[in-house]
């Protein structure tokens, strides 16, 4: 076990995957000599060479589109998109191309690519640098979307994503990159199912469901609730497409009250799907409506007011109070 930041854990996971399989490549803007703007690929070009760690031209569609082609040639490209807000030029290559190849060709052609996408707010930056664009991608059949909440998870998920035969977006919570440290077992096996949620705190009265950067907020809320004599369970989805419904439903049935949290806007967000599914499947077990704590239905605001936009512990507790009052 070593103590790593989330950033270093992803670096370690990438290095391990590249070390084990020389078909694994990395491509993206400034990922080589600079080591990426977040330094996630720091040192990888020196170690694996410029042919496997490629500084790409400044073109997101180019990065993802060529990755699909390299994958068809037998390589396993890991794309880095520099910031959440810059992913959209690659939208067609992700949605119409990578995600449907397997379906279109009845499994003959696949696109086992990974797209690493730093996301999330409360980082004090300028426009297009604090977005949570997951809901543009989650309805896309054929696409997997995972997001870690701890360094250990990040280390595991990046390797599983690379090993997956499907196209995978790894949403990396950028505000945790350098601020969150945790234990990582560098020898842990990196196989197994990609879409497994994790109950990260056991509780009985209310279930708090989140992913990525929200998980620590939910855990903090659960601690406050515990001090007040209430027992909250916290579920880290880890995979937001597909969702591990068995884990979600089991927790919902157990507590009867569910709060879903994410930074992306509320309307048609991941929370909407969770709320719909939970009431469809767990109706008679519910004591209160499933409530959402989310970003607001406006473009991501200037950073001086972003803390009023991103869900806080208090906003989670407000929803819990409402749910418990039913």
């Amino acid at each position: 076990m070593v103590q790593l930041t989330m950033a270093k854990a992803i670096t370690a996971g990438l290095a391990r995957a590249m070390d084990r399989n020389d078909k694994v490549l990395a491509i993206g803007q400034d990922i080589g000599r600079l080591g990426g703007v977040f330094r996630i690929t720091d040192g990888l070009q020196e170690r694996f060479g410029a042919a496997r760690v490629m500084d790409s031209p400044l073109a997101e569609a180019g990065i993802v589109g060529t990755a699909i082609g390299m994958a068809q040639r037998g390589y396993l490209p890991v794309c880095e998109i520099q910031f959440d807000g810059f992913v959209f030029p690659a939208f067609d290559q992700i949605i119409n191309q990578a995600s449907r190849l397997r379906f279109r060709t009845q499994g003959q052609v696949t696109a086992p690519i990974v797209i690493r996408l730093p996301y999330g707010g409360n980082v004090g930056s300028i426009e297009h640098h604090g977005e949570s664009p997951e809901a543009y991608f989650t309805p896309t059949p054929g696409l997997r979307i995972v997001t870690p909440s701890t360094p250990a998870d990040a280390y595991e998920l990046i390797q599983q994503a690379i090993a997956s035969p499907d196209p995978v977006i790894v949403l990396e919570p950028k505000r945790l990159y350098h601020s969150l440290k945790g234990e990582v077992d560098l020898d842990a096996p990196a196989s197994g199912e990609l879409d497994r949620a994790r109950v990260v705190r056991l509780g009985t009265e209310v279930t708090l469901i989140g992913y990525g950067p929200m998980v620590s907020t939910l855990l903090n809320a659960a601690k406050v609730l515990a001090d007040e004599g209430h027992s909250a369970e916290v579920v880290d989805l880890r995979s937001i497409a597909p969702v591990d419904w068995a884990t979600v439903e089991a927790s919902a049935r157990k507590t009867g009250r569910v709060i879903v949290a994410h930074e992306a806007p509320r309307t048609s967000g991941v929370g909407a799907e969770l709320a719909a599914r939970i009431q469809e499947r767990c109706f008679f077990a519910l004591e209160a409506p499933v409530l959402r704590v989310t970003g607001l239905d406006m473009p991501y605001p200037p950073s001086r007011v972003e803390t009023d936009y991103v869900p806080s512990v208090d906003r989670v507790l407000q929803a819990v109070d409402r749910a418990l009052a039913y």
Partner: protein
């Protein structure tokens, strides 16, 4: 049945950030861990305009030592007074650019994207326009902002995280900054198509960088502009780097060379030569006004500073390279020309004092900036009222009111 709304805030504030909130793209200063290696110091790769090996001529009217150069097609178009005025804007922009970096280092700005070194490219180009001509900037055009008479505070507001983009685009004929690289080029072409439809006597100048030319939408913009003969000047400020990636790794065909393939003239110019940039852009503007369509101008310059304050150029370029290009500083060159043409010390001393005063005033105003409350921002989401948005706004207002005094 409705749930009661009674609740008590317990932890007021942004409690979900962890102990240390990193700025968006500021990496930690930690060295690499595990078994990855530390990169060697970057070596020089970027040739100066005199050393370009691709056979494309670089138009120059004033060389790096401020000696006039004759050119078959282009000649200086600026009077001494006009050069003084241009130099003053370049100088004051440089002064505020330095203030921007300082303010960021002092924690007062989220980010700063230095324009240092690109002042001649920006001012030479915009000085060739009429005030009625439209400009679509990228995000590094502080000198152009000042040339158009915008309060530079607007740029500092963006970088302080106060607003996204707030200036009167129509009044100043100056578009909003484009942080999504290259996206503005298509919009500029569309604006130019509108000018053509109107039969108006206007042109559009759109700014982009060397890196942006790799984006698909920039190729689309060049094609649309050529097809519709849009009155657009594409000003590519080739500052040699897209963050860390030098142009040698960005493209094999230079922007000036590519223009011909799209069906428009492409001209490369020494971007640190105020006279040459102005003359080349003026010629392109004349063509556009005459209905002869777009031109691409590749201004060869150098980003003397970092990409942004979050960047560390020592990772990808050498001090020697910076020194070579630093010696081509457009301010130094223009100042030399002015001195050789009768401009006295007093002019420069007055300008320095004006710059200091401007910076002092700006700093005070930056520190006093307060953001609008988040609930006010609902005003700008949709033009027509929306019941759904109004309801959310009420909820957020009530929530924030519940936090007050705690």
């Amino acid at each position: 049945m409705t749930a009661p709304n009674a609740w008590t805030p317990r932890i007021v504030g942004p409690d979900n950030q962890g102990p240390d909130v990193p700025t968006a793209d500021v990496p930690t200063a930690d060295g690499p861990t595990l078994d990855v290696l530390t990169p060697d110091v970057a070596t020089s790769e970027v040739p100066t305009p005199d050393e370009q090996a691709d056979g494309i001529e670089t138009v120059q009217l004033l060389d790096a030592e401020a000696h006039p150069q004759r050119h078959a097609t282009y000649s200086p178009q600026l009077s001494v007074d006009e050069v003084r005025h241009a130099y003053a804007t370049m100088f004051l922009a440089r002064r505020l650019d330095t203030e921007g970096t300082n303010l960021q280092r002092q924690g007062q700005l989220a980010l700063w994207a230095p324009a240092k070194g690109q002042e001649a490219a920006q001012i030479g180009a915009i000085a060739a326009l009429r005030p009625t001509d439209m400009v679509y900037p990228s995000y590094r055009e502080l000198a152009m902002v000042m040339h158009r008479g915008l309060d530079p505070l607007a740029v500092f507001q963006i970088m302080r995280g106060i607003t996204h983009a707030t200036w009167d685009v129509e009044a100043h004929r100056f578009g909003v900054f484009a942080f999504v690289v290259g996206a503005q080029t298509l919009q500029a072409v569309g604006y130019g198509m509108g000018i053509t439809l109107d039969g108006a006597d206007e042109v559009v100048l759109v700014c982009l960088g060397d890196g942006a030319t790799s984006e698909g939408h920039v190729s689309e913009a060049l094609n649309f502009a050529a097809v519709y003969k849009a009155p657009v000047i594409f000003l590519v400020q080739n500052n040699q780097y897209a963050i860390s990636v030098p142009t040698a790794q960005q493209f094999r065909g230079a922007p000036a060379a590519r223009a011909g393939g799209f069906g428009m003239p492409g001209v490369r110019v020494d971007g640190n030569d105020l006279f040459a940039v102005h003359a080349v852009v003026a010629e392109a503007v004349s063509r556009a006004r005459a209905g002869e369509g777009p031109t691409l101008v590749e201004a060869m310059t150098y980003r003397i500073g970092a990409h942004t304050t979050a960047d560390d150029p020592t990772r990808y370029r050498s001090r020697e390279e910076e020194d070579v290009w630093g010696a081509r500083d457009p301010l130094v060159r223009t100042e030399r020309w002015l001195r050789e043409h009768g401009t006295e010390d007093g002019f420069f001393a007055d300008l320095a004092a004006e710059g200091d005063a401007l910076a002092t005033d700006l700093r005070a105003r930056v520190l006093a900036l307060e953001p609008q409350g988040i609930t006010d921002l609902y005003e700008y989401v949709l033009a027509e009222p929306s019941a759904a948005l109004a309801e959310e706004r009420e909820q957020v207002t009530a929530y924030l009111a519940g936090l007050e005094g705690r």
